[in-house]
Symmetry: D2
Subunit: 98 residues, 4 copies
């Protein structure tokens, strides 16, 4: 699906994340156009699912690429336990979307 | 969370959907800016979750407001069974995001 | 993945739903056993994802097979609008899981 | 919702996880009974969502409580990068459910 190379699984460089987000922005504009044009609602829903999948990919790229800071070290001022709780809370929000 | 009135649960007018999508577009740009500025990745993930929640709300608004066409009648050229299968497939994609 | 035939997409007979749920029950017991045996947590998480996928399939089967009552008619004592709102609320809970 | 104390956010002891999973098992049996009794499908879907939410809570408990092994160290025989990729893949499966 993505045009970027995925040799390391979910990981993505900063440039790749920015490109994906620019594409997501275009997709959201596309959904707005579909709503404006009263397009068939199943097609609108399908397109929204595609945007969600693209955003999930960005989220996993952020997690994967920044694992060193994000997962292992976290904020320098926090205890390992705080970092871990914070990460799990972020994953919980991703799973339940908000 | 949304500024629009929610008197009928998830339903939304076309104008409300377009306003929400414009807001989502701004949120996506905000995520791109956070990536650009190397913001703390937990904060990026939290913001992505907020975008996903907003998109879920749009999807449910599309479903709710267009229930008459979307859920009950579907495409005029399809059988009720085809319409129902198509809707369930769309819901499956929303649940699994893509 | 499922051994049942899937000729009509997501739909499932009552017997198929019951078989799937019996299998899900076994899977949940399997997860409990993994926790009891202190199995590697990534493997526990993978198994939980498999249970969630199986439950999603049951939910979509319920939606698809009972479309006539669930989607089109709903409870006889409710207005079409109430039925539609009720369905969208149920889909929202499935998307956010609870 | 859960009767267990949640003083440390998502974390759970092994005993708490096993209790939650026993409850989930009972909930799955309850869904099977609802299907058997031809209960109103919206109610079946609501109950399935409750099971999904309970399983998510177990997954987050596994992640949180075993953070030390799961997140920071992983399998001793793997490189930190492999551990990180493995964790992100597991989170991806939780987000997309399977």
């Amino acid at each position: 699906m993505p045009s970027v190379s995925d040799t390391r699984g979910y990981s993505a460089t900063k440039d790749q994340l920015k490109k994906r987000l620019a594409r997501v922005e275009g997709q959201v504009r596309g959904v707005a156009k579909m709503v404006e044009e009263d397009r068939y609602c199943i097609d609108v829903l399908t397109q929204i699912s595609a945007v969600q999948a693209a955003l999930d990919k960005v989220a996993l790229g952020v997690l994967a690429d920044h694992a060193d800071h994000c997962i292992v070290h976290g904020h320098g001022t926090k205890t390992p336990e705080e970092n871990s709780q914070e990460l799990v809370a972020a994953i919980a929000r991703l799973m339940r979307r908000g």
